[in-house]
């Protein structure tokens, strides 16, 4: 993998013939077995060819007379008093450019570090406030109204959303029409399945009944396949996905789970009333 990345970044030098013999041999060997790098090399070669065809030298477009006079023009500028002070904004930009333009990642880490430091500072300096008297009185009067008792209601909502989205995604795949060339665009489905996978991973650590846990596990397998599928894929891959959905009878199970969670929410809400 590391070798692939290193070679991929050397493809430009290779295309321009600017690599030594050893590197040339390594790249050639890799190209023989890596379709992706071969494709990228072709792309690079075509850009080099296009830009090379229209390459011009801007300095060459100015006549010899211009270049003879150029050093004198600079000397004239140097002879002028240093009245034109550099714009403050330009100076600031020059100072910050290496950090914020050329090294955005470092700047990101720095900003994140600073933000964490500020948050930690605020948390350390804050004294724990005593709860207001009214709140204390309410807690004494209603000891059952703890956060733990409200948590399951929230979980149900989240679970319902998860099942509804999953159902919509699977129905979409079931009804998906293929283009004339047999290619299917999976970009949106990929994105949605990645979001749902995160949710599924969250639910894994929640106290679930065995049926819901099994359903989430089965669903996760399909979501992983969807999340890793190519953005544009052919009909056979779609058929494999559909086969998986039908084999596990996933749509039916999701509808059942949704109905159960709807009922439990209804019961809970009635109970609370």
């Amino acid at each position: 993998m590391m070798e692939h990345r290193k070679i991929r970044l050397s493809l430009y030098d290779y295309a321009r013939g600017e690599v030594d013999e050893t590197m040339r041999g390594l790249v050639s060997l890799h190209l023989a077995e890596c379709d992706r790098c071969r494709g990228e090399l072709e792309e690079l070669q075509s850009v080099i060819a296009i830009t090379g065809r229209a390459r011009r030298s801007p300095s060459g477009e100015r006549g010899e007379e211009f270049w003879r006079e150029f050093p004198f023009a600079i000397e004239e500028k140097l002879a002028q008093p240093q009245s034109a002070k550099r714009n403050l904004a330009d100076m600031f930009r020059d100072f910050m450019r290496p950090l914020f333009v050329y090294r955005r990642r470092s700047a990101g880490f720095l900003a994140a570090g600073l933000a964490l430091g500020v948050i930690a500072g605020i948390m350390l300096t804050q004294k724990p406030d005593s709860p207001p008297l009214q709140e204390v009185a309410q807690n004494v009067a209603r000891p059952e109204a703890t956060p733990a008792s409200t948590a399951p209601v929230l979980e149900v909502d989240r679970m319902q959303r998860y099942f509804r989205k999953s159902r919509m995604l699977l129905v979409g795949i079931e009804n998906m029409k293929t283009a004339a060339d047999g290619q299917v665009d999976f970009a949106v489905e990929r994105h949605a399945s990645r979001e749902l996978l995160q949710e599924a991973r969250y639910f894994k650590y929640q106290p679930l009944d065995s049926r819901s846990a099994k359903l989430i596990g089965d669903l996760e397998k399909i979501l992983i396949e969807l999340a890793t599928i190519k953005e544009e894929t052919g009909l056979p891959n779609v058929e494999i996905l559909r086969g998986g959905i039908q084999q596990e009878n996933l749509l039916f199970k999701i509808r059942m789970a949704e109905a159960i969670y709807d009922t439990s929410k209804f019961m809970k809400s009635n109970y609370n009333y």
Binding site: Y12, E43, V47, R55, S59, R62, L78, P98, Y102
Partner: protein, 185 residues
Amino acid sequence: MPAVDERNLVLLAKEGDRAAFRSLVELHMRKAYDIAFGVVNNHADAEDVVQESFVRVYRAIGSFRGDSQFGTWLYRIVMNVALNRASAVRSRARFEVPNVHESVLHQTQARTMPVEDDLQYHIERAVHELPTLQRAVVILRHINGLSTKQVSGILKCSEGTVKTHLHRGLKKMKMLLSYLEENRS
């Protein structure tokens, strides 16, 4: 010119020798111009940028320690001045109302352009669509043919970063050029 001679010229320029500084200008002015032109994309601005860069270099040459080559230091200044100029032009353009007659004239000129110029125009447009770092790397490494090591010195980043951004920049350019080509046809 050998590196030793250039180092001597720098030492003399540091002591205030105008002739030595002029030799340094003559040595680097064309390359500096090509780099500046890559960013600002017109002769008048490129000329201003290079002149301003040399003035800055002259005034700061006393603080040049010689850790990097003179050329690397100079081109870094040229790049900074050119990027500032380009961003100033962009922000000015945001507040300006386009001149109708001028735009019509440009369209007429564009239609009568020969194919080579048309391609050149597309390439310049594609370069200017790139994000700042990718654009800087493509201009320095690909268009001006500086080595990866020199570019990493100019932009103060690692050689790996230069290679990565060159790769990404050229891929993006390829995409943009194909799109422009399709639109043209």
